[in-house]
């Protein structure tokens, strides 16, 4: 299964072309902003490097969040545009699972996996997984203490907000893997979820409503 995967949901931007465990082409750049400029040219580069056309693809995989609202939208607008023009299906995965799945199996062994991603607020986006990546909690915005409490035994903590969780835990180690998703991992996860029928639709996982308050009456 030939999969084109994209991620721009957090502080990075990446694209991968993956086929049954083989990475044909891959681009990743760490960036807090600028994905609206970088993402589509990255797709173009990756397709060219692999010498493949969109007609050769079987699936488009993407992260759906949680992450920055703008980044989530750029990624989803991109995959929806690609899918519309090619007729390809889209498999969505969470950023938290993508960050967890990047940790080598040997490092996860015997430990719960906690992922904490920067949400630009006090409460990071967080999710807990078993060592085999079975979710133990849904992705949610939680206080660092609540994130730490998601694991009762030994844990490995990943994500760009891991530094805020680790000091609160007794038996936890920091993951050596990057704190952001990588499209190479998103591709593998997307393919698996697609086969298992567990892929998410290409809908944004914001986890937080738009930050607005209803206006007061103009005159009391």
């Amino acid at each position: 299964m030939l999969v084109l995967a994209l991620d721009s949901a957090t502080a990075a931007c990446s694209v991968a072309l993956w086929e049954n465990g083989v990475l044909h082409a891959h681009r990743l750049a760490v960036m807090a902003r600028g994905q609206a400029e970088a993402l589509i040219p990255m797709v173009e580069t990756v397709m060219k490097r692999a010498g493949l056309g969109f007609a050769d693809l079987d699936l488009i995989a993407t992260t759906v969040g949680p992450g920055t609202f703008t980044g989530i939208r750029i990624g989803l607008a991109a995959v929806r545009g690609l899918a519309l023009a090619t007729g390809l299906p889209i498999a969505g995965v969470t950023t938290t699972e993508a960050v967890a799945a990047a940790i080598p199996e040997a490092e996860r062994h015997g430990r719960a996996v906690l992922v904490a991603l920067d949400s630009k607020r006090d409460d990071p986006w967080a999710q807990a997984f078993a060592a085999d990546l079975t979710p133990l909690s849904p992705p949610a915005a939680l206080t660092p203490l609540a994130v730490a409490a998601l694991a009762s035994g030994p844990a490995i903590v990943a994500g760009d907000a891991a530094d805020r969780i680790l000091p609160l835990m007794n038996d936890a180690v920091a993951a050596a893997t990057p704190g952001h998703p990588d499209a190479a991992v998103v591709a593998a996860l997307g393919a698996r979820h697609w086969r298992n029928g567990t892929a998410l639709p290409p809908h944004p996982l914001y986890l937080r409503p738009a930050d607005v308050t209803l206006p007061a009456a103009p005159f009391p």
Partner: protein
Amino acid sequence: MVILGIESSCDETAAAVVDGDRTIRAQVVLSQLEEHRPYGGIVPEIAARAHLDHADRLVAQAMDRAGLEFADLDGIAATAGPGLIGGVMVGATLGKAIALAAGKPFIAVNHLEGHALTARLTDDLDFPYLLLLVSGGHCQILAVLGVGSYRRLGATVDDAAGEAFDKVAKMLGLGYPGGPLVEAAAAKGDPGRFTLPRPMKGRPGCDFSFSGLKNAVRLLVEDLPHPVSDRDAADIAAAFQAAVTDSIADRVTHAVRRFRADWPAGRALVTAGGVAANGALRAALTGLAEKEGLDFVAPPLGLCTDNAAMIAWAGVERLRLGLTDTLDFAPRPRWPLDPGARKLGGAGIKA
């Protein structure tokens, strides 16, 4: 030549297919009015979310109605600014992705150029012409000299005209959006009962100002019994609409004289933007143009307010000249049509 256009810079998500023979093959517009109404104005994050939820479906619908495949297109044009950047990014990214996957040129369209060139889509107008662009986010007068070639003759130094309509509607308890609601109330009101200032009237130049008028309405409303009665609301709406119309007509008269002096070949006064839908303003501009010996061109209302046909048409105009854009084009929250124009405050800074 057939171009797909995508618009997502404010509170309308739209897609359209337009060809080089000035035919709109299909167009769909989805207003987000109901999403924003509770807040009495446009909330950027809500707008951006709604654009993502609907933009691809609207593109599919427009293509379907036009009976075309992406392979049949000559290019994909998308609004790349100015506007609410979260929404602009959605439409521009969608357009880039389609362009890449379909192997077609991408055209990054300035939303204001879409408005500015609409009269060539609807009326096949020749350059140069004089354009009054009045909307919720913009208020300016431009000499339209060619594709990508504009001279700004005047712009607002504070609020956009449409912004003033929205704020006055809010003060009068009329609801949102203000333009049509103020106009409806004004139709039942007496414009002579209250006296309001005519901002900038008689001053040299062509700049606008609406914040003083808005404050004058505020002071007036504060002195009235609350809630404001229908009678009072109608009379204030009528007085406000008359003041805005007078002020704009004065500014446009100055602009017409300067335009005729500098570009004597110009034959037409064109209006665009949501506020151009206002009947009183249209009537005043019609009379003004007649007096000054210019043709008055006002595109149909659906092409005055935000739409994607104008974006697709701007794409046609630009692609004809070989003006395409790379896929790393950065969406722009601000994007003046006349980069040489002096900097102004208020809504003028965006455009």
